[in-house]
């Protein structure tokens, strides 16, 4: 029988409401959705770990974090110098998440977002553009890439009334070299110059990494596409905030060694500091999550097995209740192969539709749930495409093959008269 006719008959099986095609699609869809959905929880921890490693030049094992409470003391600068001189530490950078932009002129940047308008009171919606203070060393440790950049002579960096800013990829309409002026109450003016643009889709460790283990590890990476980065000179701090120091160790030096050196010197210099290593943070997070994770994994496994069994049972029941139809097809001139092809087309359609629906629903759900979650949104979708989709596809393929093989065996091993016989039951 030619394929066109096989398809035509398969289509008949699909579109007639009595054939429970929709029911099968629903069952397959629900199963695959559940498995994908549970993956969502299971993957949280692993995503963050992977991504943290990806955004650092020397990976998590070689990068430490330190919170400098006495940022305004000159000893803080001295500690930095000493650490570098010791040879144990390759670089120390500073970065602070500044939250919304408060510099009045700079806040005009928000106009460049097409869908952001000042509300009635002339106040800009303030949670849209986030700023981040970062020094050049931290930029390097965090492995940031630029799409466009101007060279700034060293003396310009030294000028306290000038500050360079890097813009995320979403601000690409602003010309390079644009200058924003901030006038303080006393009439003092400070310039912010756009000196470069970040490559699209990049991430940086968020401030919260400092407190990893307490909070949600998943929030630890921030996408830079909509972010304004104000570049600080090393050592210059804002004065309003705790400062996070990020450092990477020299080759052959362990993180612990570098850390105990810093700790010791800080004590001697009478500086108040807190340490966090990303590793520790993740270990803590892992312990914290272990029980949850175990339950999740157990659930996931159970779900997977239940999903397999339920779908197989349904498919097998369907093939058994359809034996008569197959017997009729054979009696009227089809081969067993034709009948098997009709069956394969039919369940293939079910699996494609079921998996497609599961995927769309999961995507819709994530869109709805996480569209305001900034960085998390980004990583969720990367996870969705990178892990959930392949896994759902793999599962649906395995299910498809099982659902195909068992009926094929049933058909192959039955005599035509037996197939027909089932109509009397």
């Amino acid at each position: 029988m030619n394929s066109k006719y096989v398809l035509r008959i398969a289509l008949r099986h699909i579109i007639r409401p009595q054939n429970r095609f929709l029911f099968s699609v629903l069952m397959i869809g629900i199963s695959i959705f559940c498995v994908g959905y549970y993956r969502l929880f299971l993957n949280d921890y692993e995503i963050v770990k992977r991504e943290c490693n990806a955004v650092l030049t020397s990976g998590m094992a070689g990068t430490g974090l330190m919170r400098m409470l006495d940022y305004d003391k000159k000893e803080a600068l001295q500690l930095k110098k000493e650490a570098m001189a010791s040879g144990k530490i390759k670089g120390i950078g500073t970065w602070v998440f500044g939250g919304k932009i408060w510099e009045v002129d700079l806040a005009k940047i928000q106009h460049t977002f097409p869908d952001v308008f000042p509300d009635g009171g002339g106040i800009y919606r303030d949670d849209i553009v986030m700023s981040c203070f970062i020094d050049r060393t931290a930029l390097e440790i965090c492995n940031l890439q630029f799409s466009r950049q101007v060279d700034i002579p060293e003396e310009k960096w030294k000028n306290p009334d000038w500050q360079g800013i890097y813009l995320g990829a979403e601000f690409k309409n602003i010309p390079l070299g644009t200058v924003y002026v901030e006038t303080s109450k006393g009439g003092h003016q400070k310039e912010y110059e756009v000196i470069g643009f970040l490559e699209k889709g990049q991430h940086i460790l968020a401030d919260e990494v400092k407190t990893l283990g307490e909070g949600n590890g998943s929030q630890s990476i921030v996408c830079l596409d909509g972010l304004v980065m104000i570049v600080m000179e090393p050592g210059v701090t804002d004065g309003n905030k705790d400062t996070a120091w990020i450092f990477n160790v020299s080759e052959g030096v362990g993180l612990d060694e570098a850390r105990s050196f810093l700790e010791k010197r800080a004590k001697e210099l009478n500086l108040s500091v807190d340490f966090a290593s990303l590793q520790d943070g993740f270990v803590l997070q892992k312990i914290y999550n272990r029980d949850v994770e175990m339950v999740d994994r157990e659930l996931y496994r159970t779900l997977l097995i239940v999903c397999l069994i339920v779908n197989l049972c349904i498919i097998i029941m369907r093939i058994i209740s359809n034996k008569q139809i197959m017997g009729i097809y054979i009696a009227f001139g089809m081969t067993k192969t034709d009948v098997i092809r009709v069956w394969l087309f039919q369940i293939m359609a079910e699996f494609v539709a079921g998996t497609g629906c599961a995927w769309l629903v999961l995507k819709w759900y994530c869109n709805r749930q996480y569209s305001n979650a900034g960085a998390y949104n980004q990583s969720i979708f990367r996870w969705l495409n990178g892990y959930a989709l392949p896994e759902m596809l793999a599962l649906s393929t395995i299910l498809f093959f099982l659902s195909a093989v068992i009926p094929i065996l049933i058909i192959q091993n039955s005599k035509p008269s037996e197939l027909l016989l089932d109509n009397r039951g």
């Binding site: 006719y5 008949r12 099986h13 009729i328 054979i330 009227f332 081969t335 027909l420």
Partner: protein
């Protein structure tokens, strides 16, 4: 045309063996219209299944136009069914989720035929089912369902029509109509074998073969 020699069909159900056909022989010429009569369970359906190539003999020979069908493999058996056989099954065995038209379409699709619409409609016209072409079989009366089943068997272009209790569920008036149809088909040259336990039906046939416990008595 048909020659059964020492045909035996054994079923192994649970512990006991059932001899549905018991070392029996028979000959049917092309163009005959034969009624196979016998009590329920004597092996009529089994006989038709064997003759139609839906099942195989346990032992013995079945010659169809001098070819020994009993020795055929699955593919040759499929070709034999496809080229020669039309079935009208006990209980109609229609595809209840497909329309009358689509039921008739199945044999044609299986044979990769094209431009068959007129052929189906002509046949339905002849069977008085033209108006019900788009109905599902479940919405038809018993007689209409039977005519649909016959129409489907005719679409195969078969030379041998095997009918299992074609009037089992019908009243005498409808039975008469169906039998007239068979007679007409027989006149047109088809060989027809009808399994039945209805004397009225048997009377319409040119020849009656009685069957008892798997044995045919000519």
């Amino acid at each position: 045309m048909i020659k059964l020699v020492d045909a035996t069909k054994k079923y192994n159900s649970q512990s006991n063996e059932i001899l549905a056909l018991n070392h029996t022989s028979m000959t049917i010429q092309a163009g005959e219209m034969v009624a196979v009569m016998g009590t329920s369970g004597c092996g009529k359906s089994t006989l038709l299944n064997i003759l139609g190539g839906m099942d195989r003999l346990t032992s013995g020979h079945y010659y169809f136009e001098d070819e020994d069908i009993a020795s055929f493999g699955p593919h040759k058996l499929h070709l034999f069914r496809k080229n020669h056989i039309g079935f009208v099954f006990q209980n109609f065995a229609l595809l209840n989720r497909q329309t009358v038209y689509e039921n008739l379409e199945i044999p044609l699709l299986a044979r990769n035929q094209r431009h068959y619409k007129k052929r189906i409609m002509d046949c339905l016209e002849q069977l008085g089912l033209a108006e019900r072409a788009k109905s599902l079989p479940l919405n038809l009366s018993g007689g209409q369902q039977q005519r649909c089943a016959i129409g489907r068997a005719l679409m195969t272009g078969c030379s041998l029509l095997l009918c299992d209790e074609p009037t089992g569920a019908l009243d005498s008036k409808t039975t008469k109509e169906i039998m007239d149809l068979f007679c007409k088909l027989n006149m047109e040259g088809k060989t027809i074998i009808i399994a039945t336990h209805d004397d009225e039906v048997a009377k319409c046939c040119k020849r009656i073969v009685r069957m008892e416990d798997g044995v045919l008595q000519q």
